[in-house]
Assembly symmetry: C2
Homo-oligomer: 420 residues x 2
């Protein structure tokens, strides 16, 4: 199957919104072995859209269109597809009931208009894809081994419809099954990882193995295909075992999903470790400024484990709340091994948590300092013991914060795994 | 001028990276009055790329291509463009020197290869666009009132080259000047804003006025065009004055740049107000979990103003560090007006800062609670006075945090403006 993705919307051509739909669909389709040939974005213009369909069907047998299914007169995708496939419309009573209920529930001030009815008009012979997140149903039209699939433009509506209806429809067209697993690694760079698993990358056929660099970490996608799920799973397990044998020490999570929205799963893994092992944590953040605590607290159920966070960006706060000595700050500077040490010790004494973490570092150039931007110290307290890790991140301001927080998370993770 | 944007790269078709280049270019081109007709993404395939050029020149006079200028054999954009325009190549000595220096400086382990030399090969008669952020120079080829502009794919290289070379080149092709200003508003929704400035929106010709919704805030772009800058500026100033007269109370910033990467400028405005007026601040964050402090600390120079932040997600921390009464938590709950009040008062007593802020709220469903998700209380302390603001944000977990932090920032902003 050859697919072309067409996005419809003048707002895309004006640069008002980023086209994340094509990225999402491309990745999902690649995952089930479907070849995407081309992406095209056009405005809400009938002539151009019809010409685009025509041209696309010259090289592809399947067109997936997102956008232009809304209730206004600008939205013409469905009308163009019906014209292209030569179909009349009928009112689908089920879709119409759903739209009426939806509008009454969510748009209390809105009166139903003829425009809403337009969304319930369906081309003859179409497969209707129910929209569980909005009003516009999706549509599939088929003819002579060609098919056009229409989905709404809002990403959450489109994704839900793709997973629930379009993906199963496409999978049924093929006998092949595809399963992917995602291996997340921290503490090894992309090129070193490539080097270490070079043989696996070079020899890959089935499963396929792909590496993706994320900020400060790396993701490996392993995809197996075959006629049945058990066979795919066995292929997957064997290949993952091979990878674990080589770089297992850097792996922090092997999962079924690449949660594209969240760049990292490290905070989730650490929160889970803390909660499940009933370990308490407190943080004293200078360079990370509250970012470390905020990403940990994103995880439900953390409130019993996360005792307290302190954002001590000023020296005054380090002295008053953490009993860092003024002489230490003067002699070694606020970004120093010694300060990180006193910060974390003061914090542990104050909060009595099992683990305490401090961060101090340089995120942007400081006058009269000979210390380099990106220098970060992370203080780690556990069972009366303090250690300080020195890091040098060659990144920009915000990325230094991000890297420092991740490095701290990884230290917590290693500490828990070594001690339980 | 009609423009088609073509992105080249198999990694885009696989969904491995999001195509932010087209969004950026579309917006920048719209800003200087240039019409983008279409976006197309194709893989690194000679036949398909040549057919795409051919088809694109049927409806557009200008093609802007990003990607495929790298040193490897896959990168064929320049070769295809030269073939399409029937040009031979020569070695550009200046580009070659630059590439040699660049490779020696940044890729210490890399040996120069023939592939690097490929990047210095230029089609006859091309305009060369210097790459200040990487090795691949950009190229412009012109013939019979048609032009093709090639830029590298990495976004930071492309943006730098667009601003420094391509934008001035395109502007020279037209006599018109374009200037935009961006008005940022907090505390008014998109539809209410549309309603309030409906006359301005309906009557717009020059300047044009466009509204963009961001999380919890709204951006208005006003763009004036004309033969000279002074005339444009005058048009802009008058239109902005009109808008200020209607919704001035919600405007927190009028600026030259829409900094696309940062969704909000509110933290920057608040940090500036704190620093310039020498006002100290401390925060006690429950629902925002350190997010409020982390976005404030993103601003350089804040360390003298930001006294201390406390992340008191647990009740234990609220009691021990902020002297919130156990009875208050039991009687009213940790998400209550009373708790927000005691939190901020305890914080102010502890840190002695001029302004103190507390946040407490419900970001995800809580068992046995009759309080709704999205309920947030913000405690504000200033000069012995405490007030508590109750908010209801109907958003998902992370957006509730974001809205709560922004609401807190806006309260700080209003407080400072009312009292200085």
């Amino acid at each position: 199957m050859n697919v072309e993705l067409i996005s419809v919307g003048t707002e895309l051509l004006l640069g008002d919104i980023v086209n994340t739909n094509t990225t999402y669909l491309s990745k999902e389709l690649a995952n089930i072995g479907i070849n995407v040939f081309k992406h095209t974005t056009v405005g809400d213009n009938k002539g151009r859209l019809l010409r685009t369909f025509d041209r696309a069907f010259n090289s592809s047998d399947t067109i997936i269109v997102t956008g232009g299914l809304g209730p206004t007169d600008d939205d013409i995708t469905k009308e163009c597809a019906a014209e292209y496939f030569n179909r009349d419309f009928y009112l689908d009573e089920y879709s119409w009931e759903k739209i009426k209920n939806y509008v009454q529930k969510f748009n209390k001030n809105n009166v139903l208009t003829m425009n809403n009815k337009k969304q319930a008009m369906i081309p003859n012979g179409a497969i209707i894809l129910e929209n569980f997140c909005g009003t516009a149903p999706g549509i599939i039209l088929e003819k002579d081994n060609k098919r056009i699939i229409l989905m709404p433009g809002p990403p959450h509506e489109m994704k839900d419809m793709f997973i629930k209806s379009v993906k199963p429809y496409l999978e049924k067209l093929s006998d092949q099954k595809f399963i992917s697993k995602y291996i997340r690694l921290y503490g090894i760079g992309e090129s070193l990882l490539e080097d270490r698993i070079k043989n696996i990358l070079d020899e890959q056929t089935n499963p396929t193995v792909a590496i993706y660099a994320k900020t400060g970490e790396v993701l490996i996608r392993v995809t197996a295909s075959g006629n049945n799920i058990d066979y795919c799973n066995e292929l997957l397990e064997n290949k993952i075992k091979e990878i674990e044998d080589i770089v297992g020490e850097f792996i922090y999570l092997i999962g079924d999903e690449d949660i594209a929205e969240s760049q990292s799963e490290l905070q989730y893994v650490v929160a889970k470790l803390l909660i499940e092992n009933n370990i308490s944590l407190s943080t004293a953040e200078s360079v990370t400024g509250g970012y470390l605590s905020s990403i940990l607290i994103d995880n439900a159920g953390i409130s019993n484990s996360f005792i307290e966070g302190l954002v001590c960006y000023s020296n005054q706060s380090k002295i008053n709340s953490l009993c860092v000595k003024k002489e230490t700050l003067e002699k070694f500077g606020n970004v120093s091994k010694e300060t990180a040490h006193e910060m974390v010790l003061g914090l542990a004494n104050k909060t009595k948590s099992d683990i305490a973490i401090s961060t101090t570092g340089i995120a942007s150039p400081v006058e009269n300092s000979d210390k380099p931007v990106g220098l970060v110290y992370i203080g780690i307290y556990y069972r009366e013991q303090v250690s300080v890790k020195e890091c040098q991140f060659n990144e920009d301001r915000n990325r230094i914060r991000d890297r420092a927080a991740k490095e701290a998370l990884n230290e917590i993770r290693k500490l828990i795994l070594e001690n339980i």
